[in-house]
Symmetry: C2
Subunit: 753 residues, 2 copies
């Protein structure tokens, strides 16, 4: 199926993109950005050929063509759903293993071991043995000690295995993956990030990391896993394997499915894709994302890892009582607090990342993981709320006190002060631990711990308010409350707190509210969630512009153009245009072979403007030029290399002898006048996925700007941009980037025009 693609393109296209290579895969260098224009043109060419075949094939090939796409979509959806379910089971077993084991089978988790028993009704599960029971320890101190020791050992074991796996086999499997996915979907090339190895290591490592009790969630990594699945599935089909743009459209759909599985919310997944992954540009992608999400969610529900038939992580039992207007004040307060804490969290997380990079921790990631795991385990044993799995904690905090269940005195009015103190402790510890954990060499998501921390904050506020109401039921502020019974629902305050903090950390809006809407169900309760998310985003944005993912993209220095409005208030954008005098150009009238060869060897730019004098003729990419040069140079002696002259002029003068390279050149590159304001140029890059723009005046080349320059311009406010890159210039292959150009100039051996 793969190699039947051998496509010719109509005449017009040739002028724009180098399309002779359409049938073959265009290879991009790791760290570069793909050429969207080229890839789209190639896809159009391919589709044209598919639809214009003769005979029976004209009917079958288009069907087959679209069937391939749906194959990938369905395979990805089912795969993500199954992996999600499998992860749940694995994590449950591993996490229970820290506490005890099943008497009749080592590989049973506690709930499987005790299945059939109604534990809530008081039935005792004798088949489940804690480690102290296993080892027949009877003294209380001994029991506590042995339990703690085994817990600690398993936690460290899990976390360090995850770190070793990641470090040895798939360095890209650490962290959440969402920043990289954003960059990749925007055209960044990072193939190792999508390899099957990474998929495997990320999945296993994630299960180990979550089970180790570290303060991390599995939502972000699930998105990474979903994207890897899609990459794997799309690798079987040539149209996706050979076209990076088409592949990215599939990856985008898969990313949405990852969120859908993580939260059991297919619409939330689609909206997350739209908002956070910038899939606004293509209607087809939206539909694919939706289909993938639904298939993934249905697969997860079908597998039903917990046998509950429930899809969502933590169902919220919203009390159906209405809320009162005065409650908007604490909710707004929670929003503001969430924004502040979120911004603080980002600052700490970035500081830790920089410290890790610059200190000796860089050399010893394993030590760091072991240390943090041990600290987390000790703290978990000391602070009651941190002992359970984070998702369990969240479900307790979201629960209303309806008398049926209670966890750790959450519902006991007499314990209000100690509970509040405990909640605030948990909040502080969770935030601190997560800020450190998020960035270590283990797969780690930031969603769930943030939700838990926010829920602690919200629940604490709710409890205090409830206590106030109980103490002074007739105070004027509570005048709208019913004379008896409850007025404040601390569980819903926890939801609000979670939304606010998550909003402050990720700066998401619509998708966040949609996910929480699907959790709570009640429409009238969406309004306060919305208000607090909005407040949180405003406060957060006032402190630092970037959400956590954008901050990490900047730290890594990925060439990613965020889809935000750019306003060149100070008019500084012009400094980012490289003037004509500093651009490395090709002399299009007449260049010797050796000159062209030197040009290619002495710098690593992706392409060069071709000029005649200072009149712009076109733009030639490195690959095309190299392709054209190689056969010419093989057949030439040293002397011929010096003397043979090539031209790029479409109609050279009749006495010119020598090869004409005019067909290697893109004859209609995007040109603007230099007077064009940056406010117009930046959206051009954002919306058209350009790699470069040439500036001309009356046909004369006056300047150039590359995507990398625009990224630098957009990152100008973030002082640590690129701090995690290993080599400063290594990832800047686009021509026009100032630092690279200066570098080349300094080396002195480049023919400047």
């Amino acid at each position: 199926m793969g190699d039947e693609e051998n496509i010719e393109i109509t005449g017009e296209d040739e002028a724009w993109a180098s399309v002779e290579a359409v049938g073959r895969r265009r290879v991009y260098r790791q760290g570069g950005t793909i050429d969207w224009m080229h890839e789209e043109a190639a896809e159009r060419g391919r589709k044209h050929q598919v639809e214009h075949q003769r005979g029976v094939r004209s009917l079958l090939t288009p069907l087959l063509d679209s069937w391939r796409m749906w194959c990938v979509i369905i395979a990805t959806g089912v795969g993500v759903g199954c992996i999600g379910a499998w992860l749940d089971v694995l994590v449950l077993w591993l996490a229970d293993l820290r506490v005890g084991r099943c008497a009749y089978g080592f590989f049973y988790s506690r709930s499987t071991c005790c299945s059939g028993l109604d534990v809530a009704a008081g039935e005792v599960c004798n088949e489940w043995l804690t480690w102290s029971q296993s080892f027949n320890v009877t003294s209380t101190v001994g029991q506590i000690l042995i339990q703690f020791l085994v817990y600690l050992i398993f936690a460290v074991l899990f976390a360090s295995s995850a770190a070793i796996l990641v470090q040895s086999y798939a360095p890209f499997a650490f962290h959440t993956g969402i920043p990289e996915i954003k960059a990749i979907l925007g055209g960044y090339v990072l193939d190792d990030f999508l390899s099957p190895w990474t998929l495997l290591i990320k999945a296993v490592g994630l299960a180990l990391a979550v089970a180790s009790g570290l303060s991390l969630g599995k939502e972000g990594p699930l998105v990474h896993i979903a994207v890897c699945c899609a990459s794997l599935a799309s690798g079987f089909f040539a149209p996706f394997r050979n076209n990076e743009a088409q592949k990215r459209k599939i990856l985008a759909a898969a990313a949405a499915a990852g969120v859908a599985v993580a939260f059991g919310s297919p619409l939330g997944g689609v909206l997350f894709g739209l908002e956070e992954l910038d899939l606004f540009s293509n209607e087809q992608v939206m539909w694919r994302a939706f289909v993938t999400s639904v298939i993934a969610a249905v697969s997860l529900q079908y597998v039903d890892p917990f046998g509950t038939g429930k899809l969502v992580l933590f169902q919220v039992s919203t009390s159906q009582q209405p809320w009162r207007a005065f409650e908007l004040i604490p909710w707004l307060g929670l929003g503001v607090a969430g924004g502040l804490l979120g911004a603080l969290f980002i600052k700490i997380n970035v500081a830790v990342a920089l410290y890790r990079k610059r200190s000796m921790l860089r050399e010893w990631p394993l030590i760091e993981v072991v240390g943090v795991t041990a600290i987390t385990a000790v703290l978990s044993y000391m602070v009651a709320f941190m002992r359970v799995q984070t998702s369990e904690l969240v479900s307790y905090l979201f629960q209303e006190c309806d008398g049926s269940r209670d966890y750790r005195a959450l519902c006991q009015p007499e314990a209000i002060w100690s509970t509040t103190f405990l909640l605030l402790c948990t909040l502080a510890l969770k935030l601190a631990l997560t800020a450190w954990t998020f960035g270590m060499k283990v797969p780690a998501g930031v969603f769930l711990p943030t939700i838990a921390a926010g829920a602690c904050l919200g629940r604490a506020v709710g409890l205090l308010l409830q206590a106030w109401h109980k103490a002074h039921p007739t105070a004027w502020i509570f005048s709208s409350c019913p004379p008896e019974g409850n007025c404040i629902s601390p569980g819903f305050y926890a939801v609000i707190g979670a939304a606010a903090l998550l909003g402050g950390v990720t700066r998401m809006t619509v998708s966040l509210v949609a996910i929480l809407f699907e959790l709570t169900g009640a429409l009238s309760h969406v309004l306060p969630i919305m208000i607090s998310v909005m407040a949180s985003k405003w406060v957060g944005d006032a402190i630092n512009k970037e959400g956590i993912y954008t901050a990490w993209i900047s730290l890594h220095g990925y060439s990613f153009l965020p889809n935000i409005e750019f306003r060149d208030d100070e008019g500084k954008g012009d400094h980012y245009i490289v003037p004509a005098s500093q651009i490395i150009t090709v002399n299009g009238r007449s260049s010797t072979l050796i000159e062209l060869d030197t040009l290619l060897n002495c710098n690593n730019h992706d392409g060069f403007p071709v000029v005649d004098g200072d009149m712009l003729l076109g733009y030639v990419t490195r690959d095309r030029l190299r392709e054209a040069l190689d056969p010419l140079m093989q057949n030439s002696s040293e002397e011929e290399l010096q003397s043979t002259r090539c031209t790029f002029l479409p109609r050279p003068s009749s006495d010119f002898v020598g090869p004409n390279l005019c067909n290697t050149m893109e004859r209609a590159p995007m040109q603007l006048r230099q007077e064009t304001p940056m406010d117009i140029i930046v959206p051009l890059f954002q919306k058209l996925n350009l790699r470069y723009v040439l500036f001309t005046a009356q046909g004369r080349l006056t300047g150039m700007m590359s995507k990398r320059d625009v990224v630098t311009l957009m990152n100008a406010g973030f002082k640590d941009a690129g701090a995690l890159c290993d080599r400063a210039g290594a990832e800047h292959p686009d021509q026009g980037t100032r630092d690279v150009v200066w570098e080349s100039e300094a080396s002195g051996d480049v023919p400047l025009r």
Copy 2:
């Protein structure tokens, strides 16, 4: 608040857009398209000024500025919700009035009149008098006759009142409004469509039209009403009143709220906005749309017109039983049938619209409305399922047969053949009547009747399959069914049928499935809905490319660029580029005042390229040129007009005397080389909202293409494009459009270069 805007713009912008007029409102002609670039530049300038004020104002003004926007959002949301609730009440009363009246108050609807009585439990409502009871008619024939007569009279009365209102006061209040909204959001100027008068007439007319029993729904018109609300609310604030682009962003949010209220589904509203109204481009718009939708839905729920607390039009009671794999075959069949019927519906509807335009019906819209209403009333009396309100019918059809309720033998197995026949009759009649009604001079939506027709089809298929199962429970196809009990849920087949037909008519995907998802709730049932919608869209797209809304946009000839992929397979796009020899240009080196004045008077283009010889200097819009000319001409004698020479050169030769108009010109218009393929040019227009593109080669003007040309190119496959326009060229004010240019050439008195 309004006139404090007096903004200066930084130097760069001037080169791009004519921004001296930023502070004032730029007036666009009805039927033109707005200049997005200009409006965005103006907004950037305004924001810049707001944020760079001194003293206390620097803190307060930005807050005030964003507060204004939220004011509009909240007002719109609350307004739409309240209007939606008020409409429900009004329609209920009017519709009941056709059947009878309340004994103790004329203005009570039946349910209000009988409130407190449990009609289902057999209590008789004596306060509600049918007209035959009112008139004390006792004979059965007399009763039937009098009931029918009153019904007919009221129906005709309502419909004709609606038509008279529309025709006399607000001609734009007819039809659904969604095509116009799509065009307006895309930049089309149609101010009358958004006037308060239109709002009032549309709301009242809609209530009358729905109550008249005509085959129409209120969903589309509700979107129109929402947009009118937003236009009204935004008119109070200068930033929106003076900036068409900012206003459109508010209108887009309101449109989503309209759908949210119509279906009680805020997420569905947002997705509808994203998918059908092309709001992909702006993240802010998405958030605003979401907020507006939620506020509107909460308002509607708060007002609670029916006292049920339910938000959605027709709750679906999905039987929780799983579906079987063999059912995919009938569901796929329903999808295909929905696509076929949908495409057929569009064809008939377009044919009727053309017939109406070309026949004598054009002169007598009132007669048509009266006639169709009468026919509909008679048919409604004859076909049982059409007698109730369409929304009621749909809720019956979606209902499962759980023994509690039954309507017209829908659940009686012995009546299967007659019921199926009746359902298919209803389907045919509904489709035919809707195809005629949708386009008459009354407010009319196409959603609800389509849903009803589709539900009839689905229910019929479900009933037949159920009967087959009952007759042959052991057939191999039913092997996966449980040995006893039900296997087929005809109610869910009705949902599938509705989704399929709606998909075929509107060609929506994600938003349609999302709305039905919120109706049914069960995630596993989304999969079949998705499959049938997809099948329906494929089949429909294979027959005719346009959905019903796009078809109407084409019929009206609005300058709207659909956000679909354009592939120039036959390479015919080049024909739509106007060559330089046919462009009306301004001589930039030296033109007399009278030459420029003649240029402006002899054609209605929006702007002209300025050239020196054939070198392009820039682009000047009609408004700017007129503004600059007027003061010069007032102070000049006839002779001076002939002799005074103006120049557009930035640096004219030192011996040149006369006014320099170079600042009126946009010096950096978008330029491309003519070799650029159409596949690249069309997305440029789509994504950047351009109005024109100039083609140059080495600085020489070689051609031009306007947005209108691109629209014509995109509509090339639709043969009736612009058929409903009154004058062919009247709505083509953009320069470069071929027909207009030729027209001007024919007149002969235009200075061609």
